[in-house]
């Protein structure tokens, strides 16, 4: 079980980091999601791996699963869920306003961001862009 859990965490992290280093918003979001899965598993295993143990200490019981990491994971899931929804919306808005999902900051000079779309991005999304 240790091998399974640890390699799952490792693979999820590797996939997450690889996707996160891409230059477009969608792979980055996927990468962050993979990373948050990896972290959830990791936090969970920080309470040590146990099977068939109650998540509460009972007098006389020999083993019990540590409930604290489970509470932490729950909190982390809620937060990362909210954050993922938010970043998806922001990426969509950015894509719709600039016509490109490149993460390059092309028009940083335009402070208010009112007139940046004509700076150097095409007006309409190009289909070939997303391959």
């Amino acid at each position: 079980m240790e091998l399974l859990v640890s390699s799952a965490i490792g693979i999820l992290t590797a996939v997450g980091i690889y996707l996160m280093l891409r230059g477009r918003s969608f792979p980055i979001i996927l990468g962050i999601t993979f990373l948050s899965y990896a972290v959830n598993l990791f936090l969970f295993s920080m309470g040590r791996l146990t099977i068939d143990a109650p998540p509460i200490y009972q007098p006389g019981g020999t083993t019990y699963a540590d409930p604290v990491p489970q509470a932490l994971v729950l909190t982390a899931i809620v937060i990362s869920f909210g954050m993922s929804a938010l970043i998806v919306v922001m990426a969509l808005r950015g894509y719709l306003e600039t016509g490109s999902d490149h993460t390059r900051l092309s028009a940083m000079e335009d402070e208010t961001g009112q007139s940046t779309s004509q700076a150097d991005t095409p007006a309409a999304p190009r289909n070939g862009d997303r391959a």
Binding site: S36, P59, T75, I87, L105, D110, E111, T112, Q114
Partner: protein
């Protein structure tokens, strides 16, 4: 237990919820409620400061759960000082925003109140995981404020900001997991007890957690090489948002001080001062990078943003000494640089409003309305930011120079601080002369709508007045901050205050 301790968290939370639920229609009422709540918050913060000064550190057990099992809020001198600073900054920003920048998007005031909630919570909490939660509250509000007003450039920069912070949050969770996995606790006082014991046997696991956590805080504090998000974010967001974001970097510095000055501080056994070797060199490079950025900037906001990076470098140089003199100097400079940086961002906002064609780009344009007044405010704020006499930036830098005398490589630190100050002076002078001294004569008739002057000038003058007060009151302030530094670095007192009066009861036997 004094119930006032939780007020800085409850008040913004309730205000934000109240505005969203009851006042969505009327911006004017929203402004009034938001300003009144922020004034009230500042008064509460000052009350808490007085409480700490007279009665010592306060502990508040949430839900009355016994320590170290429940989450606890700890109010000591450091937290109280930071709370007051956040309150002052918040008041200035909310007044500035009421001039009309809160009209450019929806729900500015609730987001702003949630921002204050997250900041206050981060300063008050005595639990590492709760710190994570308050970081997230703070960040989620800052995401909203960051893209407030919209626009493509801002959204793109906002995406970067969110993505970087999500990665940092992920690292935070991994670090929390590692620390919990090796110590079995997340309460800061309990950690302070256990870290020295565990460090001797198996420091590797815990050290990895500690250093990962440092990476997270360094990202928040914009320490090189993790500072790249800051200039883009601060330069592309609106002026009031950038001004309140000044507090976010300070939360990073606060967390570094709390965790690496106390929990992994000088008496942490095998892990004593685990982050100290990295803070000082990184801070030096941060200062140099920030300064180069200032002279390379093409907009006033970008100048201000890089000046903030530079000031974080200066601050962490002193903080990284982790001794009483260094931390006191760092805290004095922290308060100063927060006020001066925020004033600079708000002035940049006035420049943007006043010059509809060139905005805050460093190019000559027609004179803006009340240009001399804005130029005068800029002059004072720039003096403060650079650290020239007579303002507190100068005193802060002298204290930092004095504190670094004990370091073997003091000559390098002195050289870097002094040379960068000179270059910063050049950078801000260049910005000021281009913006205010090269203007064409003003038009006969101002274009409509005229930008409002009263609230921005009021808010910036308030910040600068506090800055002047901080300079005049430097004597009492440093005495207070020295005691604060002593208390912050003192592991035994912290543990006694938090755990001492309330030892963990044995597990109940049913």
């Amino acid at each position: 237990m004094n119930n006032l301790v939780i007020a800085p968290i409850l008040l913004p939370a309730l205000t934000a919820a109240f505005i969203i639920l009851a006042l969505r229609g009327s911006l004017r009422t929203q402004r009034t409620v938001s300003i009144v709540a922020t004034v009230l918050l500042l008064l509460i913060d000052i009350g808490l400061l007085a409480l700490v000064a007279t009665e010592g550190p306060q502990v508040y057990q949430l839900g009355d759960w016994p320590m170290p099992f429940g989450i606890v809020l700890v109010l000591d001198q450091l937290s109280a000082t930071m709370l007051v600073l956040a309150g002052v900054l918040g008041l200035a920003v909310v007044i500035y925003a009421s001039a009309g920048s809160d009209r450019k998007g929806r729900l500015f005031h609730p987001l702003f109140q949630f921002q204050l909630l997250g900041i206050n919570g981060s300063f008050l909490t005595g639990d590492i995981f709760n710190l994570f939660v308050f970081f997230e509250v703070m960040l989620i509000a800052s995401y909203g404020l960051m893209v407030h007003g919209g626009g493509a450039g801002r959204l793109k920069a906002g995406f970067h900001y969110v993505a970087i912070n999500l990665v940092a949050s992920t690292l935070f969770l991994i670090a929390v997991g590692l620390i919990y996995g090796s110590t079995g606790t997340l309460n800061m006082a309990d950690l302070a007890v256990r870290v020295p014991q565990i460090g001797i046997n198996d420091p590797g696991f815990l050290k990895a957690g500690a250093l990962l956590l440092f990476v997270v805080f360094a990202t928040k504090a914009a320490l090189v090489p993790l500072h790249w998000w800051l200039p883009a974010t601060y330069a592309s967001t609106s002026a009031p948002a950038a001004a309140i974001f000044m507090m976010l970097t300070k939360v990073g510095a606060y967390a570094i001080l709390r965790v690496y000055g106390m929990i992994f501080g000088a008496e942490a056994g095998a892990l004593a001062l685990v982050a100290a070797p990295y803070v000082l060199p990184a801070a030096v490079i941060t200062l140099i990078f920030g300064t180069i950025g200032v002279i390379g900037s093409r907009t006033l906001k970008s100048v201000a943003a890089f000046a903030v990076v530079a000031s974080m470098g200066t601050l962490l140089m002193a903080l990284g000494l982790f001794d009483t003199v260094g931390v006191a100097a760092a805290l004095y400079y922290l308060v100063h640089s927060t006020l001066a940086g925020a004033a600079l961002f708000l002035i940049a906002g006035m420049v943007v409003e006043g010059r509809p064609h060139t905005l805050d780009r460093l190019e000559p344009d027609m004179a803006m309305r009340a240009e001399r007044l804005v130029a005068g405010l800029f002059f004072i704020a720039a003096l403060g930011m650079v650290g020239l006499p007579p303002l507190s930036g100068f005193l802060g830098k002298v204290m930092i120079l004095d504190a670094t005398r004990t370091v073997p490589s003091w000559a390098i630190l002195w050289g870097v601080i002094l040379v960068t100050s000179l270059v910063l002076t050049y950078g801000l002078t260049r910005a000021g002369t281009t913006l205010f001294w090269s203007s064409a004569p003003p038009p006969d008739k101002w274009p409509e709508p005229k930008p409002k002057l009263v609230q921005p000038v009021l808010s910036i003058s308030f910040l600068l007045a506090v800055l002047v007060a901080w300079t005049i009151g430097a004597g009492p302030a440093t005495t207070w901050l020295e005691r604060t530094a002593q208390q912050t670095l003192d592991r035994a007192t912290y543990v006694e205050v938090v755990l001492g009066q309330n030892p963990a009861p044995p597990a109940k036997q049913d």
